[in-house]
Symmetry: C2
Subunit: 259 residues, 2 copies
């Protein structure tokens, strides 16, 4: 543990809101949350909460108004396609007390897209240009229909490929803080054996979050210890202590995930 | 659409709370939510919301007190192991205004387990017998350390295999309502082409939720239409209409997921 005074790092927080009946029903296995979390963390934005909510306007409005006040940024996925069950844009508009309009730039780029691909620019497809008044568009290089940003809320598609290009497109707008870094040490030892001393170690390093995760791989089992902090020096110190702790049980730890 | 009056089915709702820094950081891809949702739905319990929250006592307490008042049942995963970061039992106790105690039955079964396997019954492992006063145990046939139920809150492990045996063990205690049934019809047609008529169909069947989900498989794409309702007859009617709708575009739909 270092005695140097440390300047408190700037912490930037986020909430991810996954909008979609199909995730709640179990039909669709969400893959967006972990992708968004890993991406944002690299930019110094820490996801502190996630919610999965249905395609119901009141629920979307209430949830957004709660979490946008609570976190620096909010990222939503889902509900911005062309069909009747795509109600995210209108719900976000309502949460912000504005109207959803057919955004002229969005209309223009969708019209050009369907002219090029020979598809009809149907009323349904025009729905994808509906954006809350005052919002700015988020580019969708894959399938053109844009996401949008209003205030601190970023609205993205639910299809993972499309969400990912939108996340890349919006990233330059984010102001990150300290990046959460991590170290992982793994040992073929039960959590219960190291629990007490690990708890004591955690108390000596309050600025490092030490997580303990059991793993089972066929007949082998063990524990992965994950240390997280914005401070690399502290992480190095903690990692050295964790390695020594595991060795003291006669087990040689690996740095990294179990192989 | 039928003209018969229909008796309103009993709806039983649930919230799933995934507790764990490792899910929020993106390190771990959650697989429990979809499993729990599918399992509960078969029992007539509908998951209406899910939250992913960190291992922070105040957040766990506030979240639980909010959602246990709002839904018939609450199911949590994570944070009931032997290490310092396993704070779910104490947090749940605090949410209910009771103390966490070393539950005698839990102590006895863990003591017997470690006596049999030759492991030491450490203080860390004894932590896994800490249960809110007044809670009843949930059997864990796999690794013995139990989950528990207090009020309408069911507390389970985060490791999927263990969560699954706990979910089986607690299921007889649930009182289900109407089961949400579903039909899926898939067609090689763009969402934007069918959006308008699908929206009109949804308006004629307000008791059926019609979800539209685009899919992309290499160069093939199309739309899966998922109808959900507690009423099988209404689902059959809606499915017939959706099939006719897709055929009217010269596309032969498949019943079921895209193959």
């Amino acid at each position: 543990m270092s005695d140097q005074p440390r300047i408190a790092p700037k912490i930037v927080t986020a909430c991810v809101v996954l909008i979609g009946d199909e995730i709640l029903s179990g039909r669709t296995q969400d893959k967006n949350l972990s992708y968004i979390s890993l991406h944002l963390n690299q930019m110094g934005v820490q996801v502190r909460e996630a919610r999965v909510i249905p395609d119901i306007e009141d629920v979307i409005v209430d949830t957004l108004n709660e979490v946008r006040a609570k976190y620096d940024y909010v990222f939503t996925t889902g509900g911005i396609g062309p069909t009747h069950d795509d109600i995210t844009a209108d719900s976000v508009a309502k949460a912000f007390g504005v109207t959803a309009i057919y955004h002229p730039d969005a209309m223009a780029l969708l019209a050009a897209h369907y002219a090029q691909t020979g598809g009809e620019f149907t009323a349904g497809r025009k729905r994808m240009a509906r954006i809350p008044e005052g919002a700015s568009l988020i580019d969708n290089s894959l399938s053109k229909a844009p996401g949008f940003q209003i205030g601190n809320v970023f609205v993205m598609a639910g299809v993972p490929m499309v969400m990912q290009v939108m996340l890349d497109a919006l990233s330059p707008r984010l102001e990150g803080g300290a990046t959460m870094k991590s170290r992982t040490v793994t040992g073929a030892i039960g959590e219960g054996q190291i629990a007490e001393r690990l708890g004591a170690l955690q108390q000596r390093y309050p600025a490092v979050g030490i997580g303990s995760y059991p793993y089972f791989r066929g007949k082998s089992f063990g524990t992965s210890l994950v240390m997280r902090s914005t401070d690399s020096d502290l992480l190095d110190e903690t990692q050295a202590e964790v390695i020594a702790l595991i060795r003291s049980f006669g087990v040689e730890p690996e740095v990294g995930e179990p192989s």
